[in-house]
């Protein structure tokens, strides 16, 4: 027995040592989110750095903020990092950014850029470059820069068939903001009040709808579609940022140039896009290092701006740098930046995108009139941006914990006196040696973080104003934040959707999986192995890859399903309309469901195949001799034998489906209007897109856990305890 433990310990230790030791801090750490040419430009700038070595890291956009927030407080993060200015408010609230100090050269940066990085009169970052939208012209299709957007729309009918005059990302408020500004609107004013409602927003939406209806712009355009339409010559103009120029590159398939955005004839006002000031920020620790500040100065220097300009047309935030001729893209973007509207750097900005995007989507789908959609957006913003619940006294909770602890300790002492119990305990010792590693590993790395995470559900606010609020989060969720219990986004409605989602998935997973397994288990079937390998493929490909592939396939304009419908129309002369999958709950739900069925049926197939090996041939043979038909044998012999083996796998499958975040988040993204969100994706939204309300998200997580625990406690857990799943026997 000793030998065994020693063996495992040695093995573990060897493995751990083989894997290498943790790294120690590099002299200066620099994090960024660049890729491609922008990353090359950064490397070229750093080549002239003379100080201590710089350790750079490209962090994927999705993980950037979480990573900064986790790493900087424990001293593991960067000294210097590059991010957009609009995050500053939040970064400061979470104490992961320090004042720029002498990193900021005085008197060389443009006024809007400087204003963008200044909070309460203190500069918190050093501006690098300015990004905003401008107008791209495909010079093969259109010669001149239009004076007004209406002139541009006049191109309709004068272009080759299948070509749009303009491609413009109207789906997102980031793109729509330019139009909104010419109607006099502001997304978020200085007092943090939400502005995307009322007459200017209604006029903006009506104008966009008109452009779509007249086929001036394609429907449902997102950033990727803007790029691909312009790149393939299917649009004469495109509203996009410097990233499109980078994508077009030197070997651009179309001839193009850039001009500032046109005016709107209807109001006489110019379209002013949102301005993002890319900035160098210092972590609180980095802000104290002279060398880190010097590095920030270098990154924002005039020489650096020249280098950056060689790699892409992003204008510098400096006023003392002139690059290129008067009509070079970088000049045009610099010109446009002067009239662009800097995004608010208040932490509240975070809460603006989602309600505004949803209002736009709802209106463009014709699910609501403009005023209804927009006031719903306003309501949604207020819902997220509500005041923090009051501080509560932790005394009752501590008392409760104390009392429970005392009761447990008392029971334990009482039981330890019982003769029977201590005998059992003594007999259990040898078994505990087998389970010790698992208890330690799961206890420390799974259960401890879960318990800590769960306790955050009793708090609200972030670092600066974190507070204990008792059960306020739970009460708020369970009372649907004061609204009607079945309102859109309320806990109960989302729960119903989640239950429907879980039930449908399980039915299809088990149905398809078991049917295929029964077919595959026929000894007479030819190509069994080939089928088996091909049918397992959905399981072998990473699920985030396939979820994104499915999302693309459901795209209304360019998706495969539309292709399939058009193909069928051609073949059979029918005229089925392509479906806008994410505009209705039913179709969006079906899209999510199809994706998840695709991902999940191989698992159930494998589990059933495993279970089927447990059906003894002689029993089946006996039933056959007794004259049972194949159907009777399946129903009366096979199914009863495999059912106990399948039941626990189904329970686990149901738990995983209940918490299946990837598919819902990546495929429908909750569209339309958050109706296809399930509880776990709702929790993610509170944690990551709604002002980082971790406490609120944790309360959702605890509620999910409690529901699953109580449901399975009566049935599933017993099954698992009695007959565990055995998908393991076969692939």
């Amino acid at each position: 027995m000793k030998a065994k433990s020693a063996l495992f310990a040695t093995l573990l230790l060897t493995l751990l040592m083989l894997l290498g030791s943790p790294a120690f801090a590099a002299p200066i750490r620099l994090w960024h989110g660049y890729r491609g040419d922008e990353e090359k430009a950064l490397e070229a700038i750093l080549a002239s750095w003379k100080g201590s070595p710089v350790e750079t890291l490209a962090v994927p956009y999705d993980a950037y903020l979480t990573k900064l927030a986790a790493a900087i407080p424990v001293g593991e993060g960067p000294d210097v990092y590059i991010d957009s200015h609009e995050r500053l408010g939040e970064l400061r609230a979470r104490k992961i950014v320090g004042p720029a100090g002498d990193a900021l050269e005085p008197g060389v940066f443009s006024a809007p850029a400087l204003a963008a990085v200044t909070l309460d009169g203190v500069p918190w970052a050093v501006p690098l470059s300015q990004k905003c939208l401008a107008l791209y012209i495909n010079t093969d299709l259109a010669k001149e820069a239009p004076d007004t957007l209406e002139d541009l729309a006049g191109l309709i009918g004068k272009l080759p068939p299948g070509t749009y005059p303009l491609v413009y990302e109207v789906k997102h408020v980031y793109g729509m903001a330019a139009l909104f500004s010419s109607f006099g609107g502001t997304l978020l004013d200085a007092n943090d009040s939400y502005g995307f409602f009322g007459p200017p927003a209604e006029q903006t939406l009506a104008f966009a709808r008109d452009l779509i209806d007249r086929h001036v712009i394609p429907d449902d355009a997102d950033g990727a579609l803007v790029t691909s339409f312009f790149k393939s010559g299917q649009a004469a103009y495109a509203v996009s940022g410097p990233w499109l120029a980078a994508d077009l590159g030197d070997k651009s398939p179309v001839k193009w140039r850039v001009v500032p955005l046109p005016k709107l004839r209807a109001t006489g006002q110019p379209m002013r896009p949102l301005l993002t000031v890319e900035s160098v920020m210092l972590s609180p620790k980095g802000a104290e290092k002279a060398e880190a500040r010097a590095l920030a100065r270098l990154l924002a220097s005039a020489e650096a701006a020249q280098i950056r300009a060689r790699f892409g047309p992003t204008p510098s935030a400096r006023v003392d740098v002139t690059i290129g001729a008067g009509d070079a893209p970088v000049q045009v973007f610099a010109l446009q930046a002067k009239t662009a509207i800097p995004m608010s750097s208040s932490p509240t900005m975070h809460a603006v995108w989602d309600p505004a995007d949803r209002a736009i989507a709802k209106f463009l789908r014709r699910n609501a009139t403009a005023d209804v959609a927009l006031s719903e957006g306003k309501h949604r913003f207020d819902d997220v941006h509500r005041p923090l619940p009051p501080r509560a006294s932790p005394v009752p909770a501590l008392l409760a914990v104390g009392v429970i602890g005392l009761v447990l300790a008392f029971q334990w002492v009482k039981r330890s006196r019982e003769e029977d119990w201590s005998t059992q305990l003594r007999q259990s010792w040898s078994s505990y040696r087998y389970v010790l590693h698992a208890v330690l590993a799961v206890g420390l790395l799974v259960i401890v973080p879960l318990v800590i995470g769960a306790t955050t559900s009793l708090t609200a606010g972030n670092d600066e104003n974190l507070r204990y609020v008792g059960f306020a989060n739970f009460i708020s969720i369970l009372t649907a934040r004061g609204g009607p219990l079945l309102a859109s986004g309320s806990f109960y409605l989302v729960l119903l959707v989640t239950l429907l989602w879980t039930a449908c998935n399980i039915v299809f997973h088990v149905g398809i999986g078991a049917a295929l397994a029964l077919l595959l288990s026929r000894p007479t079937l030819r190509f069994r192995a080939t089928y088996r390998v091909l049918l397992i493929i959905p399981w072998a490909v990473p699920s985030y890859v396939t979820a994104l592939a499915w999302k693309g396939m459901f795209h209304r304009e360019v998706g495969a399903i539309t292709g399939l419908i058009l193909g069928i129309n051609r073949l059979f002369g029918t005229s089925v309309e392509p479906i806008a999958w994410f505009s209705r709950f039913s179709t969006a739900f079906v899209a999510n469901l199809t994706t998840n069925i695709w991902l999940g049926f191989p698992f159930m197939m494998v589990v059933t195949l495993g279970a089927l090996t447990g059906v003894p041939d002689d029993v089946l043979e006996a039933a056959r001799v007794d004259g049972a038909t194949r159907w009777q044998r399946l129903r009366l012999v096979t199914l009863p034998i495999i059912r106990p083996t399948l039941a626990p796998a189904v329970t686990l499958g149901a738990i995983w489906t209940f918490n299946m975040f990837n598919v819902v988040f990546l495929v429908s993204g909750g569209d339309p209007d958050g109706t296809t969100d399930i509880l776990v994706s709702e929790a993610y939204r509170w944690a990551f897109t709604r002002e980082n309300q971790y406490g609120y998200a944790a309360a959702y997580a605890v509620l999910i856990f409690l529901m699953l625990f109580l449901t399975t406690r009566s049935r599933g857990a017993k099954k698992i305890a009695a007959t565990p799943p055995s998908p393991a026997e076969v692939v």
Binding site: L16, Y61, A438, L519, V545, W550, A687
Partner: protein, 289 residues
């Protein structure tokens, strides 16, 4: 002449093949899309029924594979490093996960002890809690253990998360092995542990292999934890690299697709090998479910 009653008719055979072929088409269709995207040099955004590459090219693969990083000791071929990381981390996860899960699963299958039921229930309960709330606490914990920014830390986390499911699976497999086998060995003078090592483990080999495959895959595909814990490009695993092609403004679907194919190939190969090996093991009469 009477047909054997168990012999399916021709019509039934055809029916079975039609159903299976439809299922295969359903299974492969999205994969074909990824392939078409990855190999297309230029891709006009059109809706097609059968996805085929346009202006077939390997440029995207080349771009994904040829990432490098300059260091004082010369240039590092990042993609190769990251592929090795992914494989090392996933293999180590499978190994550590199995090492932890096997004895526990055996004890749960064979012994009676205090707290067993409660332990199993707690294990099941760990599967119910969404990880949304536990990421930051886990980060702080690993920081205390000095396991941040290391493959070890990642392996330890992945292994611990894969253990509950592995235990459930292996326990079922162990329960299916007749106790007589061990008892016979113990009568012959083996200790319980020796009997476990020499009799039970070999008999459960297919189940262990599949469980290891599960653990391998969950580690190989994980993104969020890896992106949060690792802070050096040469330490990254491939899913982080793939994710970086999806950016705030410009999403490079072509690179993403090429990367996805490169990432999937090792797993597919593994599945293919595992399936042949395991089916062989099964037909040889190893384990019955």
């Amino acid at each position: 002449m009477t047909r054997e009653p168990d012999q399916p008719s021709l019509l039934e055979s055809i029916g079975a093949h039609v159903v299976l072929i439809l299922a295969v088409i359903f299974a492969l269709y999205p994969v074909l899309w990824v392939i078409a995207l990855a190999f297309s040099g230029s891709r006009p955004p059109v809706a097609e029924m059968v996805p085929l590459p346009h202006d077939a090219t390997l440029a995207h693969f080349q771009e994904v594979v040829s990432t490098t990083k300059a260091t004082p000791d010369g240039s590092i071929w990042l993609f190769a490093r990251q592929l090795v990381n992914s494989l090392v981390v996933s293999i180590a996860t499978a190994a550590v996960g199995i090492i932890i899960a096997v004895p526990t699963a055996y004890a749960l299958a064979r012994f009676k002890f205090l707290g067993k039921e409660r332990g199993v229930r707690a294990l099941l309960a760990t599967q119910m809690f969404p990880t949304v709330a536990s990421l930051i606490p886990l980060y702080l914990l690993l920081d205390r253990l000095h396991l941040l920014d290391s493959r070890t830390g990642l392996v330890v986390c992945y292994a611990a998360t894969s253990v509950p499911f592995a235990i459930f699976q292996l326990r079922a497999a162990f329960e299916a092995i007749p106790v007589d086998l061990e008892e016979a060995a113990m009568v012959d003078g083996a200790t319980r542990f020796e009997a476990f090592l020499r009799v039970v483990l070999p008999a459960a080999r297919p189940a262990i292999a599949v469980t290891a495959l599960f653990a391998f895959m969950s580690a190989y595909n994980e993104f969020i934890l890896a992106a949060t814990l690792l802070s050096k490009a040469e330490m990254f695993t491939l899913p982080i690299v793939l994710q970086s092609y999806i950016n705030q403004y410009d999403t490079r679907n072509d690179l993403f697709a090429a990367g996805a194919i490169l990432v999937s190939v090792p797993v597919m190969a593994l599945f293919y090998v595992a399936q042949r090996h395991l089916v062989a093991g099964l037909t040889a009469g190893g384990v019955k479910g």
